[in-house]
Amino acid sequence: METQAKAGFLTVKEALGYFFFGLLFLILKTTIWMRIDPEYFGPDLLLILITYLGLSAPFITGSILAVCLGFICDTLSGGPLGLFTTIYLIIFWLVVMIRQDFDPASPFYQILVTLLLAALSVSMVWGFLSLYDRGFEPSLMLRKHFFLIAQGISVLVTGFISPVFFWFFQRLRLPEAQRKEQEA
């Protein structure tokens, strides 16, 4: 696995690249992927991207990317506006807080962190909806085991495929010499 690029710097080109990849993930998920996986067993690629940004992006740029992608996710979903904006922002901030404590190049840690964050994201959606959305009835959803199983599988898939995407996102970054030049 390649060494991660220095956390705390993203060029404009890189930031825009990650934004468009996030947008592409959302578009593919809501169009082609839904034909294959209508029950949502699939991975949350946006969460993997936000986790990666938390490990390698500067605080402001990463926060802005998390807010923008979360807002688009909110616009496309039928939930309260701001739900995913808030959740992705919290996830980004959490990763920023813990990024000093583990090796971001290790696939083991990548899986572990993404898995935990995916589970946290599901719990946060559940928690926010239970608190703020009157129409949400947790007891009804809990009775539908299939929904919970699908969510569980999605969390696991998100965690276990994350190293592939971390590698891919790392490949999108500019060569070190060019980065240093731009940083200077």
Binding site: I27, T31, F146
Partner: protein, 271 residues
């Protein structure tokens, strides 16, 4: 941490500004709200991807995979769906005649205009059940308008962009509408729970309801016209405690395979 605190305050201000702008713009024009504009842009991209995928899928299955059988199957499915819809309508008409409802409201016979739309995208997660269609405010859509297929009720328009609209499906947990059992005229509230099965609420224990009963829209609430098929009762459970039955309903429409829909263009004052 001081730097982070400043940033958090800064971002909070940005959110506050966006919220204010949304409220202000919301009074001007619904489809020009930030989410409406985002929906317009992203839905255009989704539309391109969906059309391309459909094109490729159609080309593949139409020319390489059982050309004749597929087309015949599609025709038969359409015929069957129409026959089912006719059967529901006929049974409904028969029951109405038996009850000697001679006072017909001729205004109801003046059907509101209907337009067809295509589903271009689904929801990006399992929590909510919405779809985006390729008809919007410029096509005459307004929030609250009912969306149907020949199989039954689909949902209602909840958000508008100039050329696209978001439709809240019946199976979303935020959706609920007045329903009626076709056979016994027992009424209840059909509520979604974001799974493929809906729940019929507030049906009393002594009410006549059995598995296999067909549910239709009651026409109350003013969104859906009366008599549209909603689904079939698949489970009735009498709880030891409480006043009501626990009733599961399988929707008449297969929401996983929703492609074309019809939007009933009711005026806002009618909704």
């Amino acid at each position: 941490m001081g730097r982070h605190l400043r940033l958090i305050i800064l971002i909070s201000f940005v959110f506050f500004a966006i919220a204010l702008i949304s409220r202000w713009v919301g009074r001007q024009n619904e489809s020009l709200q930030p989410q409406g504009l985002t929906l317009e842009i992203v839905a255009s991209l989704q539309n391109i991807v969906t059309r391309s995928a459909e094109g490729i899928e159609s080309f593949w299955s139409g020319y390489f995979y059982l050309v004749g059988a597929r087309e015949e199957n599609q025709k038969l499915h359409t015929t069957l769906d129409l026959a089912r819809a006719n059967l529901t309508a006929l049974r409904e008409a028969e029951l109405a005649n038996k009850r000697l409802k001679k006072l017909l409201d001729f205004k109801q016979s003046l059907e509101p205009p209907i337009i067809a739309g295509n589903v271009v995208a689904s929801n990006p997660n399992a929590w909510f059940k919405t779809v985006v269609i390729d008809k919007g405010e410029r096509d005459g859509l307004r929030t609250g308008q009912p969306v149907v297929t020949q199989n039954g009720a689909v949902g209602r328009v909840v958000e508008l962009a100039p050329h696209y609209a978001k439709v809240l499906l019946l199976i979303d947990y935020n959706s609920s509408l007045d329903a009626m059992v076709q056979r016994t005229r027992v009424r209840g509230i059909l509520a979604g729970n974001s799974t493929s099965i809906c729940r019929l609420k507030y049906v009393l224990k002594h009410d006549d309801l059995v598995e296999g009963d067909v549910l239709i829209t009651s026409g109350l609430g003013g969104v859906f016209p009366k008599g549209l098929k909603l689904g079939t009762v698949i489970r009735v459970k009498k709880m030891a405690h409480g006043l009501f039955l626990e009733v599961d309903v399988r929707p008449a429409v297969n929401f996983n395979k929703l492609e074309e829909v019809l939007i009933i263009l009711k005026e806002e004052r009618e909704l």
